[in-house]
Symmetry: C2
Subunit: 219 residues, 2 copies
């Protein structure tokens, strides 16, 4: 999530096809940031990128197709997981990367535009889901390494730990609309780690927990 | 969040003013669900409610004003906090109410429409913030009661506990676009409780934690 804020200068060098794609994705992000998903049009992206409309229609099909490819590129460019040798520092690096992405005007607005689009467009929802699946899988590795080192209980579900780190940050950003600060990132790490050490992220423990059954049998 | 799905039959009886408000908010919700915030217009709401346009403009001003009043009414109608006598069951009741609200087609779509609107409209963001502030404050009481009973450490921040219960549910709903099930509600309760029992929601503990400082001094 600490990918550079602008795509253009950073996309892998290549032939004309790669240059066209870089220009189109850059223009897509520009239009998303300025006008949101509702205001995004294929024609405007083509004009802004200096690329023929037919090329854009042929290659990306719809504006949701453009957004899906943009999210794909952002996932490609986002950083590999940390590996500091300690789970606390690794998770904090992850939380901080999220705070930074959210706080970056261009990236933060891009994510919010796609989150908004996904509430009413299935293709945008699929693009968003794909981005986070990749990010969650990548960072789940830090949990697996911590389990191997004996820092966390065996069977700890890495993907769930990573979701738990990010959830309070995005919840504040798009739901309660509260500030997302480094302090919130700290809280998230401390709380998730305490819960993980208590075994509540272990797949076996999860089955044995039965909160619902316990509550239902009580009342 | 387990407010009835339709407003019209449930708004307090009253004179003409109350009836007009009920009809207008019902029409606002209908339009939001069908067309989203972008597709919502004051004129269409007035027509649907069978109320004069000038009344709607004079009383609510803008479409964001309509949405703000709708969120206000949804907060009024949503349930008081549970009080089962045990923190686990109380938090589970809260988590389940969120899952049910999210899963209710009309209510779920309404929240998503307002969440989407809030990404680009300050008044919609304010309406959303106001709704969650009220819900979080109301349910924070269950944590205060648990602290009094000695179930949770002194100084536990009730609002933060309630945020932590909801965060993974909304994160899946609008960010990762993953299913929000009763099982996810169970996990959220178990993990949040483990973290709360470990003292990570206590205000004093929070200051002493210093994850950031520890990590920064290390690297």
């Amino acid at each position: 999530m600490d990918q550079p804020s602008r795509l253009a200068g950073t996309v892998r060098p290549g032939g004309r096809t790669a240059r066209v794609r870089a220009a189109v994705l850059e223009a897509t992000q520009d239009e998303l940031v300025e006008h949101g998903f509702h205001g995004l049009t294929m024609d405007q992206v083509a004009a802004r990128a200096g690329v023929g409309k037919t090329t854009v229609y042929r290659r990306w099909g719809t504006k949701a197709g453009l957004v899906a490819d943009l999210m794909n590129e952002l996932a490609n460019q986002s950083s590999a997981h940390a590996d500091t040798g300690g789970i606390e520092a690794d998770l904090y690096a992850n939380a901080l990367a999220v705070v930074e992405a959210i706080s970056d005007r261009r990236l933060g607005v891009t994510f919010q535009a796609v989150i908004a689009a996904a509430t009413s467009d299935d293709q945008a929802a699929q693009a968003l889901r794909g981005f986070f699946q990749r990010r969650i899988e990548e960072w789940a590795n830090v949990v697996d390494l911590a389990v191997e080192r004996g820092e966390l209980p065996k069977g700890t579900d890495g993907a769930e730990v990573i979701r738990a780190i990010s959830a309070p940050l995005y919840y504040r950003l798009v739901v309660t609309r509260e500030p997302v600060t480094e302090e919130v990132a700290e809280w998230s790490v401390a709380r998730t780690l305490a819960a993980a050490r208590a075994g509540t992220f272990a797949v076996k423990a999860r089955r044995a927990m039965g909160v619902r059954e316990a509550v239902e049998s009580r009342g």
